[in-house]
């Protein structure tokens, strides 16, 4: 029962596609699925934390100055934070390719 690298060939697929290293979702950076990026306007932000609560990815964290920021390695750009933000401090902008 050893871990294999990402299967290059069918013979390398783990039996039953089992995953033996727990918590490996951390290493799978889903942020590159993103088409839109949230931008915070901290002049409008009231530090309510609604964005943090609603983020389905759990990738929004409080910064040391009390504002909020998303970890772009995991933010999928869904826009729920911008939609929920009471003072409309978050805007979604298209990712530059």
């Amino acid at each position: 029962m050893t871990d294999k690298k990402w299967p290059e060939t069918w013979q390398e697929v783990n039996l039953g596609c089992m995953v033996f290293d727990a918590g490996n979702a951390r290493t799978y950076l889903t942020g590159n699925w993103r088409a839109q990026r949230p931008i915070w306007d901290n002049d409008k932000c009231i530090k309510c934390g609604i964005c943090y609560v609603f983020c389905p990815e759990g990738c929004i964290n409080k910064t040391s100055d009390g504002y909020y920021a998303a970890d772009m390695n995991y933010c999928k750009g869904c826009g729920i934070c911008a939609y929920e933000c009471p003072p409309k401090a978050i805007s979604m902008t298209t990712e530059e390719v």
Binding site: M1, T9, V13, G16
Partner: protein, 392 residues
């Protein structure tokens, strides 16, 4: 020492599962399988085996729970039929993809509608491509033997796939038959304790059932297909060992009086015994008819088929399911397609029989045999027919 007992076949099936020292039974009752559920729950309730009997709320839950139990390393058994099997179907490909060796008895019954509780093979044919090993029993003895063999096959490290044992509903499931019931010591000797490949346990977290993206899904399917194709070797080995220990022989395809036969009837399941009588009668009258009984449905025994049909000029394949708008019954299309590249391929005709519990008599098989003989010189216009269907 094995003991010869008279027993209803469903009861015998439950007894066989108990002899395998199952850890978990997860069964939802449905006619004509219910006696398996009932008897097994009695065995557990009476404390005859140390197992959990899960009373679930549906067949979907029955197989889901069986899968979960198997993933924790339990030897797991379930059983169903008809709509119940179709309800399980959503879970079936996952069981095989996760490589969980669940054993299931299917008391084959027609799929509705009209609602029909009697026997044909339309239930198992619906679930044909779920990646389960699929075996057909002909009589009560085979049900007992195949149920015990099933655990050994499924749990083998080179296999690790779920397996279903098919026993015709009522026509086989509800017969009281004499069976040689192996004793516990014999079964223990044959079937070692289940040693799972990997298990779900909070202290050793792993993932079963992860996402498979487009860049690896085809490889996963190739691996699964290769597992079931290669399982045939283990199946043959287990059957060889069974012969040595218990004296009863099992083959993917059983040939009966095929020597010099021009026509070979082909059956799956309990009707093989009726067909045998028909072959005996025809042979007595000099009609060159033999019989092939398919025991192993998945993985399909292509090599054995090519060997078994040598010398025959017509195969009369009987099916107990309709592929609506398709090329003929599932067994027929399988066999005809398998022989396409064989330059000496025989004519293959298809009689769809015994739907929804319709009796198929010895005389019916004689009629099929005689008509198939004519196909040697003149092929029938239609590839398949619903044999004996009334028309106005």
């Amino acid at each position: 020492m094995s003991k010869r007992v008279g027993m209803e076949v469903t009861t015998a099936c439950a007894e066989a599962a108990a002899l395998c020292r199952i850890d978990v039974a997860s069964v939802y009752p449905i006619t004509p399988q219910s006696h398996i559920a009932e008897h097994l729950s009695s065995i557990v309730a009476d404390g005859r085996i140390d197992a959990e009997y899960l009373t679930v709320e549906s067949e979907h839950s029955a197989l889901s729970a069986a899968m979960g139990a198997s993933a924790t390393g339990a030897r797991t058994f379930t059983a169903t039929a008809s709509q119940g099997l179709i309800f399980m179907q959503e879970v079936m490909p996952i069981t095989s993809s996760l490589r969980l060796p669940v054993v299931m008895a299917i008391a084959n019954r027609a799929v509705s509608g009209p609602i029909n509780i009697w026997n044909d093979h339309s239930d198992i044919m619906h679930t044909r491509d779920c990646g389960w090993i699929s075996i057909f029993a002909q009589n009560g003895q085979e049900v007992v033997d195949m149920t015990i063999q099933a655990f050994k096959i499924a749990e083998h490290r080179d296999v690790l796939l779920p397996i279903n044992i098919n026993l015709d509903g009522f026509q086989l499931s509800h017969m009281v038959e004499p069976v040689e019931m192996p004793d516990q010591e014999e079964v223990d000797r044959f079937l070692p304790e289940y040693k799972p490949y990997a298990t779900l346990h909070p202290d050793r977290p792993i993932t079963m059932g992860a996402l498979g993206m487009p860049d690896m899904f085809a490889e996963a399917m190739m691996a699964k297909n290769s597992a079931i194709v290669n399982s045939k070797k283990v199946i043959l080995d287990v059957w060889k060992e069974w012969k040595k220990l218990f004296g009863r022989k099992y083959e993917p395809i059983e040939s009966y009086k095929t020597e010099g036969a021009k026509v070979l009837l082909v059956t799956m399941g309990s009707m093989g015994e009726t067909a045998e009588i028909a072959v005996d009668e025809m042979r007595e009258k000099g009609v060159p008819v033999g019989l092939l009984k398919i025991k192993l449905w998945r993985p399909f025994p292509f090599d054995e088929l090519k060997k078994a049909i040598k010398g025959a000029s017509v195969l009369a394949v009987t099916d107990r399911a309709v592929s609506f708008g398709g090329p003929g019954g599932p067994l027929f299309s399988e066999i005809r397609s398998a022989l396409y590249d064989d330059p000496a391929r025989p004519a293959v005709v298809n009689y769809i029989i015994g739907l929804g519990g319709r009796d198929v008599s010895v005389k019916d098989f004689i009629d099929m045999g005689k008509r198939a003989l004519k196909a040697e010189s003149k092929r029938p216009k239609e590839a398949y027919e619903l044999f004996g269907v009334r028309a106005s």
